[in-house]
């Protein structure tokens, strides 16, 4: 099972290393990791995507909580939340297929942010599924490069 875990940590020297050391030492696999500041500059939020059964997830959550610099751990699990990832995709493009690529981009409500003689850079945000779908559509044109920010997530509602 894929889990989205949100970890609030003290914005201190070495915190990222602590988290990654923990995952490596315990043999947990990270699919994606995104780190950034929160509304409180002393606190960072890490969004971690982990795969594993219930037992592993229980350990991941507890082990994270045990780290002294970790303030709070939330496993979104099935709870109502939104997820977003931002991807930049560089696709081979020339005169002959540029408009076709632009159509695909439009359908996915993605944006073209750079055009050169032989390529286009497309920016898209969305959840995992949307990015995968767009990527599948772009593949036939030839994807030269892709980079992603990693998934960030937030619970819905007033919490």
């Amino acid at each position: 099972m894929r889990h989205t875990i949100s970890v609030l940590v003290e914005n201190k020297f070495g915190v990222l290393a602590r988290i990654s050391t923990l995952f490596a030492a315990r043999g947990f696999n990270i699919d994606s990791l995104a780190v950034g500041e929160t509304e409180d500059p002393d606190v960072s939020r890490m969004t971690i995507i982990v795969k594993g059964d219930d037992r592993i997830l229980e350990q991941v959550e507890k082990q994270l909580n045990k780290l002294v610099d970790v303030i709070k751990v939330v496993d979104f699990g099935q709870a109502q939340h939104v997820e977003r990832d931002l991807a930049l995709i560089k696709v081979k493009a020339d005169k002959s297929n540029r408009s076709e690529i632009m159509q695909v981009t439009d359908i996915f409500r993605a944006k073209i942010i750079d055009v050169s003689a032989d390529s286009i850079i497309i920016e898209t945000t969305g959840d995992e599924e949307k990015i995968r779908a767009l990527l599948a559509m772009l593949k036939p044109f030839g994807v030269k490069e892709m980079c992603r920010t990693g998934i960030i997530a937030m619970g819905r509602g007033g919490k």
Partner: protein, 575 residues
């Protein structure tokens, strides 16, 4: 008035009531060592930083107070690592200080620079790099707090030399609030009620007690629960002494070299009440076959211990003492006569046995120590066969009186830990039960012991082998003694597995001469009848003593649950 970082360091140690610390100076620690000179904090100069870390650990294990050690940057810090890992695995409160190159040089591969916080991150509960002198006092306070609360563990503070020289106002934070660190001590009342009912409903309960009981000082509460609900008690290596060994409810140690009856009790139990123990693989044997009929109540302060290896039915996160106190109020008085009779049957079938003849057997030496000291000495062990025999044949009567590296299994732990324990308990007899291999791993601390008049007694059970490994080679690798003979020399036949043959060369070193060279008393025993007089003499001499007992070389530790076997697939004798 402004103070330097080094002055603040000493002030903080005084505030934390540190009376003694163990360590070795170096270039980047000069400012701190200058302020320690003549200060009320005693620095015990060790001969190796690993020794310093184990001494701090032994000090902590024997008292419950936080042990303190200090090492210089680079090699000093890396030498601490084994000691920190040892303390970490056994949840021992230690604060380690390391010097670091100046903040301006960090990251430049400066002389004696090592990424100390990076290297020690996986073997400490927490660590800090202090980059501003204004953070120093608070960091030290936090370190002592974190090391000693919740599930204790080692905490390291790395202090660059320029921070030691920089000046600031000294402010000791009286109160400490770490929002991300709040251990939970009180058990959940609903869970306590469930546990209490499960105990009342059980017919074959076992209390499986670990080091957490010692940490939380909950021995008395365990005894009360055991007596009230008539529950047999098995202890882990780290909890030896936490339950009186002469009680009819005592099952001794469980696990790989545990007693036949403790292991069978676990396997047949219908309710295991784990208190401050963590279902480590040396205790459970093959997990899939572990205690198939048992419900599990698990009391532990560390939530990660719960359901990590064995699924817990009733988890109880909190302090063992606090939770047991509550449980003792509600648990009903009970009697489990039939269950205890069954266990006694197992005990009669396969008691702990060794051959009692005229030969000098290691078990006999330990049993004699147990009798002479009435189980009231502080016994520290190294790692190997002698360690397991100590757990089996030394009847520790009190908590914090049997100290052993359980989790990491660190050879070389015992002797320095014994020095630390003796310095913390000068009035007590402190004995290091050592293997000939292990003792050589920190033998240099004889200088520390002799010069500081730390009168520890070292009992070397010299089997001339890395005995525990040799035993595995005998049992599982066709008696191919690959690199386990400690007096194997250049001219030996390549595949020798005959101990004490006529071609054997002399054993090196001569431990008696080594002892004498360091100014300790050395004694060698080859004859069983000299065991008692030698021990008696050693215990009465006011000097560190090294006793070398030339024991049977191929004695094995039994019973034994082989790796991958279930606890009841225990081998009681070799074919």
């Amino acid at each position: 008035m402004k103070k330097t970082g080094a002055e603040i360091f000493v002030e903080c140690l005084i505030k934390e009531k540190v009376d003694i610390m163990f360590g070795i100076p170096g270039g980047v620690l000069l400012p701190i060592f200058d302020k320690l000179y003549g200060s009320p904090v005693r620095l015990v100069l060790t001969r190796h930083e690993q020794g310093a870390a184990h001494m701090a650990d032994g000090y902590a294990r024997s008292t419950g107070k936080t042990g303190v050690c200090i090492a210089t940057s680079g090699p000093g810090a890396t030498n601490l690592v084994t000691g920190l890992a040892t303390a970490y695995m056994d949840s021992i409160p230690v604060v380690a200080f390391t010097g670091q190159v100046a903040t301006t040089l960090i990251g430049n591969d400066a002389f004696q620079e090592a990424d100390t916080t990076g290297i020690t991150r996986p073997v400490t509960k927490h660590n800090f790099l202090v980059r501003d002198v204004r953070e120093l006092a608070r960091t030290i306070k936090e370190a002592f707090h974190i090391a000693s609360t919740g599930r204790p563990g080692p905490v390291l503070i790395d202090i660059p030399v320029d921070v030691q020289r920089a000046e600031t106002e000294f402010v000791w934070p009286e109160n400490l609030e770490i929002r991300s660190y709040k251990p939970n001590y009180k058990g959940h009342p609903v869970q306590i009620k469930r546990a209490s009912e499960a105990i009342d409903a059980s017919h074959k309960p076992v209390l499986y007690v670990g080091g957490g009981v010692v940490t939380s000082d909950a021995s008395k509460e365990v005894i009360e629960l055991a007596k009230k609900a008539d529950i047999p008690v098995t202890t882990t290596l780290l909890a030896m002494g936490a339950f009186p060994p002469d009680s009819p409810l005592s099952l001794g140690m469980l696990g790989m070299h545990g007693t036949y009856w403790a292991n069978h009790a676990m396997q047949n139990s219908d309710l295991i009440i784990a208190v401050g123990s963590r279902f480590d693989d040396r205790c459970t044997g093959k997990l899939a076959a572990f205690a198939p009929k048992a419900k599990v109540v698990h009391i532990d302060i560390d939530p990660t211990s719960i359901s990590k290896n064995v699924k817990t039915d009733i988890p109880l996160v909190g302090d063992a003492k606090a939770i047991l106190t509550e449980l003792n109020k509600t648990v009903k008085k009970a009697s489990h006569e039939k269950w205890i009779e069954t266990i006694d049957g197992w005990k009669k079938k396969h008691p702990l046995l060794y051959k009692e003849d005229n030969k000098l057997r290691p078990q006999y030496v330990i049993e004699t120590i147990s009798e002479l000291t009435k189980g009231e000495a502080i016994v520290v062990t190294e790692v190997g066969q002698h360690q397991m025999w100590s757990a089996q044949y030394y009847s520790a009567k009190l908590p914090r009186h049997f100290l052993s590296s359980g989790g990491l299994g660190t050879m070389g732990f015992g002797f320095p830990a014994a020095i630390g324990a003796k310095m913390a308990n000068p009035g007590k007899l402190v004995i290091d039960i050592a293997g000939d291999g292990s003792f050589q791993m920190n033998i240099q601390e004889l200088a520390t012991a002799v010069l500081n008049e730390v009168n520890v007694k070292i009992v070397i059970l010299n089997n001339k082998y890395l005995g525990m490994v040799r035993q595995w080679q005998e049992m599982f690798y066709g008696k191919r003694y690959s690199s386990t003979c400690l007096h194997r020399h250049e001219g030996c036949p390549p595949k020798c597995n005959e101990p004490g043959g006529k071609d054997c060369q002399i054993y090196i070193p001569d431990f008696v001469k080594v002892a004498e060279a360091y100014g300790a008393l050395g004694m060698r025993v080859t004859d069983k009848k000299d065991v008692v007089p030698t021990l008696k003499k050693a215990f009465s001499v006011k000097k560190p003593v090294v006793m070398e007992f030339m024991v049977e070389q191929e004695e094995n530790v039994l019973p034994m649950v082989p790796t991958g076997a279930a606890l009841d697939e225990i081998i009681t004798r070799l074919a």
